[in-house]
């Protein structure tokens, strides 16, 4: 038998194909260029401020770029505090909602509920801001006062300047607080967390679920033994995606808070701050150097959300691939 020589196959593409490939590649490259430009531009403009401030950028609490005293310690602290309040409220709500949709709801209402939750994710943040400022704030103030009166011995629940013995004291110390901003942001991130958790819970193997039920498990013990361990990674990942969203939320927070530039851990008390509301607050009157400082703050926020999001998508992806293996 004669040995066949290996054929070399060359692709000669027709002209429309070449044009299409060129266009698609061009689109890919330009998107990449835009995205990298945003990142690099932020980084380059931020170096100006970062170089001046040095390491004190991460320890200084005040924000007076033109006086040379500025840092993001208080701002990052405030941002994280709002996000933590939001996550603490949103995760139980979202878990319950996802569990209800996947495990309890009758088949008929399931798709309606899913589209309702998706709709909630599409509501503009300004609408949530209005709701939070004009309705929720008035409802939360008495609750905040009640908590601070009865549980004020816990350090972060105390409120300075409130007089528990005076029932007619003005309530302004309780308004515009981290707590209220966190509640509004919680409502905004609940749908995102819910939809990820729902997807993960839905993938819990039917055989194991029914096996548990067949062994005599109640529905809740089936959920605890099968669905929750199966979806744990998805729950963590979904919560982190929600956290990334909560960190970057601007306008609802901006409407509600009254800014302070010190680390203020008392969440029920008037005064809070976040990076994005700082940018919205100060970009207008900023000098070139002030803008550079704002860029540095924005870059820090971007890096934080980037890390959180990548970790989250890694965890979610691993939870899905881990299922099949």
């Amino acid at each position: 038998m004669s040995t066949e020589t290996r054929l070399t196959l060359r692709t000669a593409r027709a002209r429309p194909d070449r044009i299409f490939r060129g266009l698609a590649l061009g689109a890919g490259i330009s998107v990449l260029a835009i995205m990298l430009l945003v990142g690099f531009f932020l980084a380059i403009r931020a170096t100006d401020a970062l170089g001046t401030a040095g390491w004190s950028f991460f320890t200084e609490q005040a924000w007076e770029p033109d006086a040379g005293r500025f840092g993001i310690a208080a701002i990052i602290f405030g941002t994280v505090l709002i996000a933590v309040v939001a996550i603490a409220v949103a995760v139980p709500l979202a878990s319950a909602c996802a569990l209800y949709i996947t495990q309890y709801a009758p088949q008929r209402v399931r798709s309606t509920l899913i589209s309702l939750v998706d709709l909630m994710a599409a509501i503009p943040s300004i609408v949530f801001g209005l709701w939070g400022f004009f309705w929720l704030q008035g409802e939360v103030v008495p609750v905040a006062r009640w908590i601070s009166q009865n549980f004020g011995f816990i350090p972060f629940l105390t409120v300075e300047g409130a007089d528990p013995s005076d029932p007619l004291a003005p309530t302004t110390v309780f308004t515009s607080s981290t707590f209220i901003a966190g509640l509004v942001v919680a409502m905004m991130i609940t749908p995102i967390i819910t939809s990820i958790m729902r997807e993960v819970f839905d993938q819990a193997p039917v055989g194991e679920r029914e096996g548990a039920l067949a062994l005599g498990a109640t529905r809740w013990s089936m959920i605890r033994a099968v669905v929750l361990p199966f979806g744990r990674a998805g729950m963590i990942g979904g919560s982190m995606l929600g956290l990334g969203r909560a960190l970057g939320e601007t306008i609802a927070v901006y409407i509600i808070i009254s800014p302070v530039f010190v680390m203020q851990p008392r969440i029920l008390e008037n005064g809070a701050i976040s990076v994005s509301s700082l940018i919205a607050l100060r970009y207008g009157e900023a000098t070139e150097f002030g803008l550079s400082a704002l860029m540095a703050a924005g870059l820090t926020l971007f890096l934080m959300t980037l890390v959180v999001n990548f970790a989250a998508s890694l965890i979610v992806a691993r939870s899905r691939s881990g299922v099949s293996s």
């Binding site: 593409r13 194909d17 890919g28 599409a122 609750v143 409502m187 529905r219 704002l294 924005g298």
Partner: protein
């Protein structure tokens, strides 16, 4: 983790206690049961497990009553609180506690846990859904005050000050501004987004996966930072005015990653058998994309575009930095500030004047309705898979057939009634004719008598004796002509 199981020895009443178990039938099982049916086996009917007992109802009612009364005591006597949210939260916590307590009197621990978990999951889910409905309803309700005035939709705010009543001024400039900005953003993002998604799927490789990673990273970009980027580059460095175009650029930077990721997922879903079929028939890559990939994913792509539009149109923060603010209509996206709906809401509610706040809510309600409309469109398009379209066609045909059948049956009924009614009608007709003749005859007779009594005699009148009812009718008719 150990699985809680029901104790083996239970009183008969508790055996039926677990709530009905919904067995989710997986597709393979459906196939199996159909195979069984094909073999002539009896199809299994899902067994109804459990149900509600009177005791469950008592526990629920008792817990609610106890929680309400204790809440009253706590919130008014022990730890006073005003408002509605506080008492509600306390009542809920107390309800769960009392419910647990009541159940634990009669039920074993696993069942108590199951019931309590079920109650908590149900109520939290209801709270989330009610909050959503409340947010939407609250905005629209507060907005109605401004929406009642027709001028709200056709005027701008250039001639209306903060102290003017709602019958002056409106938000048409913001509506138009929003539409112009989102149109520009869509013109940029749709081709770029879909081409990039095609690139990621059609020309996979190391560079494509790098692009995908970067796009994924950029979807973490906070929207205010996107606005800050455009503000610093396009406005401060390139010297563009604060304008609608700058705002559209900022919205585009924010929408691009959303659009690319959504279309990427949709295009990836196109079955490779379809693409291979096209290639096997000799189609090139471009023809495959144009005739197979894009048509197959059309409804998914439309959904992706609409959802990205809904996100883009509601964004406030990038617009806040880049578009500037004006109270007047501006149709030129390149020159002068141009306001959009979310920004108008933001500016309105910053004012302390109640009329301005009402206008803010009105604009928010319009924005909300716009988003709802877009979302409904997306759901409608997204739901239109080929099978569903087929099913809808069948449904339409069935509906048409049933309408035709209904009309036919109505026709039959009418004919039936008609057949029954013919003799009746005929009899009525005859009777009516007789009555008419009689009356006419009476009339003729009477009038002749009167004329005779008056001494007047018409020459054409036939003699009185010869008149009988049957001829008088035709006579009367003849008289009229």
């Amino acid at each position: 983790m150990a699985i809680d199981t029901k104790p083996a020895m239970l009183p008969p009443s508790t055996v039926s206690s677990p709530p009905p178990i919904e067995v989710d039938v997986a597709p393979e099982e459906v196939g199996a049961s159909e195979a069984n049916r094909a073999r002539g086996m009896r199809r299994e009917v899902r067994r109804q497990l459990g149900g509600a007992r009177l005791g469950d109802l008592f526990a629920l009612v008792g817990a609610v009553t106890a929680s309400l009364s204790t809440t009253w005591a706590v919130t008014t006597q022990i730890m006073p609180v005003t408002g509605s949210l506080g008492p509600f939260l306390i009542a809920f916590a107390l309800f769960v506690a009392f419910y647990t307590l009541l159940l634990s009197f009669t039920e074993p621990t696993p069942i108590v846990r199951d019931r309590v978990a079920s109650v908590v999951v149900h109520s939290l889910a209801i709270i989330v859904v009610l909050t959503l409905i409340f947010v939407v309803a609250f905005t629209i309700f507060r907005g109605l005050e401004a929406l009642r005035f027709p001028n709200f939709f056709v005027q701008d705010m250039s001639l209306a000050g903060p102290l003017d009543p709602l019958s002056a001024g409106g938000i048409v400039h913001a509506i138009v501004g929003s539409l112009i900005q989102i149109t520009i953003a869509l013109v940029i993002t749709i081709p770029l987004g879909i081409l990039t998604a095609l690139y990621l799927n059609e020309m996979p490789g190391r560079f494509a996966s790098f692009v995908r990673t970067v796009v994924e990273a950029m979807s973490a970009l906070p929207s205010i930072v996107a606005g800050l980027f455009i503000y610093a580059t396009a406005i401060l460095i390139l010297g563009l005015e604060k304008s609608g175009f700058a705002a559209a650029l900022a919205i585009s930077v924010m929408m691009l990653p959303i659009m690319i990721r959504a279309s990427d997922v949709v295009i990836r879903m196109v079955p490779s058998t379809l693409k291979e079929g096209a290639i096997g028939l000799g189609a090139g890559q471009w023809r495959t994309v144009w005739h197979v990939v894009l048509p197959t994913s059309r409804s998914g792509l439309a959904t992706a575009i609409i959802l990205a539009t809904a996100r883009g149109i509601g964004e406030t923060s990038p617009v806040l930095l880049t578009s500037g603010f004006t109270a007047a209509m501006n149709l030129d996206p390149l020159r002068g500030p141009m306001v959009s709906l979310p920004l108008a809401v933001f500016q309105f509610v910053k004012s302390p004047e109640p009329t301005m706040i009402a206008r803010g809510f009105g604009a928010a309600a319009v924005l909300m309705l716009l988003v709802l409309l877009l979302f409904a469109g997306a759901r409608w398009l997204g739901g239109r898979t080929i099978e569903k379209q087929d099913r809808a066609r069948h449904r339409r045909e069935r509906a048409l057939a049933s309408v035709v059948a209904a009309i036919a049956s109505i026709g039959r009924a009418v004919r039936h009634i008609g057949r029954r009614a013919v003799p009746v009608l005929r009899a009525a007709h005859v009777a009516g004719a007789r009555v008419a003749r009689a009356i006419n005859g009476l009339w003729v007779v009477l009038s002749q008598r009167v004329r005779q009594a008056l001494g007047y005699r018409s020459p054409e009148m036939p003699p009185t004796e010869s008149i009988d009812p049957s001829t008088s009718l035709s006579l009367a008719a003849g008289e009229q002509t």
